[in-house]
Amino acid sequence: MTAGATPPRAAQLTHATSDMRHLIARLIQASVLIGLLAMFSYASGLHNVVRMRAPAAGAWWNAHEFYLMEGAATALGLLVALRVGVRFAAEAASIRYLAPVALALEAALLLPLTHLCARVARIGADGGAIVAPNRMAAYAGFEGGKTLDKLLIAALYFIKTVGFGFLLGLALFGAVLVGAIVSARGDGAPIDVRGTRSSADSQL
């Protein structure tokens, strides 16, 4: 391609898709970081340490760490689902608007979905709940076992929230994909650009 010439549409789309993938990857990293930090803080009472240095910040962190954990876990599930969806819908991934629309929908629905996922994740399995704390107390002593138990509960809650977020994210991506399929023109030409092979093809 000569300098200054307009890049072909296919190349533009590949760039757009690639940028979108990078954005999703960064958001996933941020969700993991915030989620794990909030989870460990919630389980180990890290807010007390912050309170000693900055009481106002510690109080704020204590009031919000649980919601941050829930929100980050849900966002993580939704984003991983989006990444999986984009990867497995290789042909549809060449559609410029598919991933951004799905991402915008996820952002708009994050709060209600967080409430839903967090509520479902609170539901536990029947029975056997006392086994794990007892074993941990036998292994690490009462105080250590108590901390480990809190950590285990928080980690399970986090993982379950991520799981439900993932399922809802897949459903959401499926709904957006339906829109993309419907918008395919009746004459058979695409869906966005003919002959564009997205990089997702090679990943499958």
Partner: protein
């Protein structure tokens, strides 16, 4: 009698019927008849439209399935190993369906734009193969669901006795 729980369950079961029934009908009834009755060009034209429409129906049904399924979990009030396995299979089914319609289906749509093409037959074979896997997994999920619903209704049955 007519509770929200029952309504959600009704929508959930209807979505399963639509998703599974559509795929099975297309694979076992429509595709063989098309192959026997129509010439190549017409068959491709009909098949590509069916593929597209089926994608919309199946993916919509799966999205409804997830939402109503999560509401059902809230109604049931426990997440055991069986339900965890079921949810895992549901995730796999949705990913496979996204691959089937988001990659293979759209590729069939694109390749067949100008009538029959050599690349079409392997694509359609792969499309059917993935569809069958999805169908079998959905049947397994239905079987697990029966186990879950029977387990959930067992105390009620005992109480009624």
């Amino acid at each position: 009698m007519l509770s929200l729980r029952l309504f959600v369950l009704f929508i959930h079961v209807t979505a399963v019927i639509v998703a599974l029934g559509g795929s099975l009908f297309s694979t076992f009834a429509l595709a063989p008849v098309l192959a026997e009755e129509l010439d190549g060009a017409s068959r491709v034209r009909v098949a590509r439209r069916v593929t597209r429409r089926l994608g919309v129906i199946v993916l919509s049904a799966l999205a409804i399935l997830v939402v109503t399924g999560i509401l059902n979990v809230m109604f049931v009030g426990s997440i055991g190993p069986l339900l965890t396995l079921k949810l895992l299979l549901v995730a796999i089914v949705i990913v496979l369906a996204i691959f089937q319609y988001g990659t293979l289906g759209l590729r069939i749509w694109r390749v067949s734009a100008n009538g029959p093409a050599p690349a079409l037959a392997p694509l359609q074979a792969r499309f059917r193969s993935v569809g069958l896997k999805v169908g079998m997994l959905v049947l397994l999920i239905v079987y697990l669901s029966l186990g879950l619903s029977r387990a959930a209704s067992a105390p009620l049955t005992l109480a009624m006795r």
